[in-house]
Each structure stands twice: as structure tokens, then as C-alpha cells.
Assembly symmetry: C2
Homo-oligomer: 270 residues x 2
DNA sequence: CGTCGCCTTGAGGAACTTCAATCAGGGTGG
DNA sequence: CCACCCTGATTGAAGTTCCTCAAGGCGACG
């Protein structure tokens, strides 16, 4: 689970969580990492709750979170909003803007953030010249898509409790990968209302479910710090399988079928 | 809305709905279309409700629906299933397998289907040689991702009625693009249970909501044929905006901000 | 000390589910 | 041709989950 020991490696910008992610996910090596790092402009500091990309507006830059939390906000015509993703350091905010510079979903910070950006045409040119960059981008997109499918399943099938448990498991895993969680503890710097917007639940209900997880000893909260006391139970309840996050996709590509699926039932016999 | 008049054009396989989609979406032209068409193997005929790709198993081929309906099935560890997408002629089933040959979601036919396939490495090689193919694949992926985000919003924010109305609007639009809908009428060859698995609702509830749409004269059903009697009301209720389907992305890329978004409120002021 | 944002709690209601039974249509075997 | 069966649509009734509204509490900050 702790994938972050092999970090030390010389070169520019390797404290950069985006670089960490690319190395972990896509196995990118030195020349490409440096090229990408140099395309990223100077990080911009932004306050909490400010827009990075406004919904419906053209974007010619791909944004990357280096520090802080942000989210993708999908606005419905009548004003309701669904958070389509929580973005943590290392995450690309709007990869789809590489091909679709317009969209109904915006990007906004949740906490104060440090955000870097790449021009989309510059990135596409780099990818066209450099196949392993192209592959890395393809992988990033595919993994993002998997995450969306998983969240769909959460929204469609899972109860509020399962869904919240799933989110916490996912956050622990993702934050661990960029060294932002230790000993099952991490900072959860967002409000219950925002959690509700991710889960498709009301604030009140999020509160009650969190509370029940707390009183049952599955998690502990103090201030903005959350610790998962019983990961195994939480994972079990959530039906959480970290595979879809693909923090180890390199070996995976060469591996055999996944454990637990060898005897998977026919799709229509369940 | 009828985007399919300019079809006549010489060349191989242009009755192929996949080719139609690629032309519409990515503006691909003759040499690339022919190259793609030649990579696609001989279409395979498959019966209704059979697996195309089993969840958890390695896939080295990208599948394309040429005829019939299929779906992406996401299995939860405990056996519940969520349909992550309905696939109609012209749709790519598992584009993400280009980069991630393993996954927790399978592909299965719903009706009898004709399905073609490409080897993933062959396709990647073609993309590496041919930038406009690479762009087309990128676009396909981005559009798919947009669809997932929209469905997330449906599952998270919209009521059963809104969600169903949204699905019907979406289907009309997508089917129209491949000439499978005429006069607001199309064939809906799937059961209410399957609709429920898409919407995250029980069969019984789907039945009741469909019924209310029918009695209010918004839609008509006879056998497997569905006609939308009052598209405007349906669209209004659903909050449906076809933009995310990107059937016209070429012009869109060059266009200004979208209508209705110029005055979009701040993400946090709603 | 007052205010503001956020968490918490209670009560009542709406949306949706589950269970169970019935109905309608199409195909099959006799 | 008819009895049978199987799938899928339909209906009713009872129960859960989650929502809305509304009020308090608590800590941070000016």
C-alpha cells in the first residue's frame, strides 16, 4: 500500500506530486518527466473556493493541482450542482480539455491551492512527438474514466453508508500515493456539504452517516483530521477494491486475471 | 438535428455506423477512415445477452457495435450490477482497454448484435503513425468521459422522473445521429429492469415513472417502439442539453462560449 | 462580545424499495 | 388448435432511506 518509498531520484521538480503520479502510473522516465515539468508554468497560488475554470467557458490550459484540494463541478441547468471529482495534489483537473475545450463542468478550489497549467496545444505537440508522453496521457484519461464508472456504481447501487465508506477508502488510497496520508490518517479539509455534493446526499444525511461510522469506531475525526480505525471493516462495507485507481498499472498490464474475478459469474446469472 | 444527410461518399464500409460516428465527431477523412475500417475484423454476430468482454478478464481487443444494443456492466463485489453505459450502433464498447486491458466492468449484448473488433496494439500503432487517428481516439475518449460525468449528475442530483426523461432525450439524440430514429420515434429493445440498472432504480419504479410519462402524453409506447410526443417538455423536465454528446464538435471547437452559460453564476453562488 | 460558518439534532414527509400477486403476449409441445 | 409456460409489464401495500425544514450548539475570528 505504501507505494512511495522509491521516490528519491535526481532531476528537476521531483517533489512535484504530478511527477510522482506520472512516474507511478505511467512509468514515465527522466527525459519525458523533465519535458513535462518544463511545460508546466509557474504554479499559481489560489484562495479557497475560487474558480479555476468556469463552466461553459473555453479553456486552453490543462490544470494540475500541486497543493490543496479542488473539485470538478457539474452544473445542472436549474442550478443544482454535482461534484464530479475531488482533486488532490497530483491530479489533472481537466484532461478532457485536451480535446474538448468547452464543457458544462467547471473546476474550483475547495481549499487554497497551488495550481500549475499547460497549454493544451503545447501538450498535444509534445505527445505527438513523444509516444511515451502520449501513452501517459492516454493512461491518465483511461484511469479517470474508470474512476467515473466506479462513482457511477456508487451513486447507482450503493447506500449512503456504503458510498461514504467507499469515498473514505478511496481518499486514503489516493492520498497515500502522494504521501499525504500516514497511519490511516489524513486531512479532510472539506465541509460535510461538499461531501454531500460528491455523494449526491444532503448535508444532514452525510452528518448522520459520518456520525454512525464514528460511534461504531470505524473512523475518528478531530478537526479536519480523519483517521480510519478499522480499514478492513470499512473496505468490506464499502465493497471497495482499489484496482480501479491503478496506482500500479505497469505490473498490472503484464499480470494475469485479477484475484476474485477468476470465478466471476456470468453477467446475467447474478 | 438530422445530421445524416451528407452521408453519400465513396469508399469502403461507409454504411458502417462507426465510420459515420468518426466522421461526425472527429471529422476523419478518407485515408484514415479506410485504414480504421480495414483494421476492424469481420463483424461477429452475437445472440442477445451474451458477454462480449467478461469483467476482470484481460481484453486485447477494442469492440465496436455495428448493429444491436449492448451495455457496459459494472459488477460490485457483492453481485449488484450497474449499467455504466448503453451502447448503440457506432459506439465503442471499451475504449479504455486501449490503455487498461483489465477492468471490473464487462461488456454484454442486450439484443442480438453485430460486433467488430480491433487489436489494441494495432490501433495504438496506427494512432502513433497517424496523428489524426490519435486525435480521433482522444476525442472519443473525452466525449465518453463527458457522458459519464453527465450520468453522474443524473444519478446524484436528478429525480427518477428527470433521469428517465434525460435518458430518453439522450437516446433520441444518439440514435438520430446514426439514423436509427425518425420522427421522434425509435426502437427501445430493452426491458424495464435494464433501464432500472442504468438509472439506478428498481424495475417497479421505472414502470411507474414510464407510466406517468405516458399518461401525461409526453411519450407513447407500443411494443418496443417508443415515440416522444412532446420533446420540448421532456427536455425541459430533464434539464437535457445535448452539448455533452458532441455530435458537432468540429464547429464547436472553433465557436465562442455556449449559449446559456455566458451569464453562468459563480460556482459557489448558487 | 457578537457574528459567521459549520456541525448537530429533531420531527415530519417525499421518494423510492421490497415483496407479492396478477396480467398480457409469444412461443412450444401435444 | 389449444393448453402450457416463460418473460416482462403492471398493480397494490407496507416499509426504508433519505430529504426538508427548523432550531440549536460550538468554535473561530473580528
Amino acid at each position: 500500500m505504501s507505494l512511495t518509498q522509491q521516490l528519491p531520484s535526481p532531476g528537476a521538480g521531483h517533489d512535484n506530486p504530478f511527477v510522482i503520479r506520472l512516474r507511478l502510473l505511467a512509468g514515465l522516465e527522466e527525459p519525458e518527466l523533465a519535458a513535462l515539468d518544463s511545460l508546466l508554468g509557474v504554479p499559481r497560488r489560489m484562495g479557497a473556493r475560487t474558480e479555476i475554470v468556469r463552466a461553459g467557458q473555453r479553456t486552453d490550459r490543462i490544470h494540475v493541482i500541486l497543493d490543496g484540494w479542488a473539485c470538478r463541478v457539474h452544473l445542472l441547468p436549474d442550478g443544482r450542482r454535482q461534484l464530479a471529482a475531488l482533486l488532490i495534489p497530483g491530479d489533472v483537473c481537466n484532461l478532457d480539455a485536451l480535446y474538448l475545450p468547452f464543457g458544462e463542468t467547471g473546476i474550483a478550489t475547495l481549499t487554497s491551492c497551488s495550481v500549475a497549467a499547460v497549454d493544451r496545444t503545447a501538450l498535444r505537440r509534445l505527445a505527438a512527438r513523444n509516444p511515451s508522453v502520449a501513452d501517459a496521457l492516454g493512461l491518465l484519461g483511461a484511469v479517470e474514466s474508470r474512476g467515473l464508472v466506479e462513482r457511477n456504481a456508487c451513486l447507482g447501487c450503493r447506500s449512503a453508508r456504503e458510498h461514504l465508506a467507499h469515498l473514505l477508502c478511496e481518499l486514503l488510497t489516493r492520498l497515500s500515493a502522494v504521501s499525504l496520508a500516514k497511519d490511516y490518517r489524513f486531512t479532510l479539509p472539506i465541509t460535510q456539504e461538499e461531501i454531500g455534493a460528491v455523494l449526491g446526499l444532503s448535508t444532514v444525511h452525510v452528518n448522520r452517516v459520518l456520525q454512525s461510522l464514528r460511534t461504531e469506531g470505524l473512523i475518528e475525526q478531530s478537526g479536519h483530521s480523519l483517521t480510519i480505525c478499522d480499514l478492513e471493516s470499512l473496505r468490506q462495507e464499502a465493497g471497495f477494491r482499489p484496482d480501479y485507481l491503478h496506482f500500479d498499472s505497469i505490473d498490472r498490464t503484464a499480470a494475469g486475471p485479477r484475484a476474485g474475478f477468476d470465478t466471476a459469474p456470468n453477467l446475467f446469472d447474478c
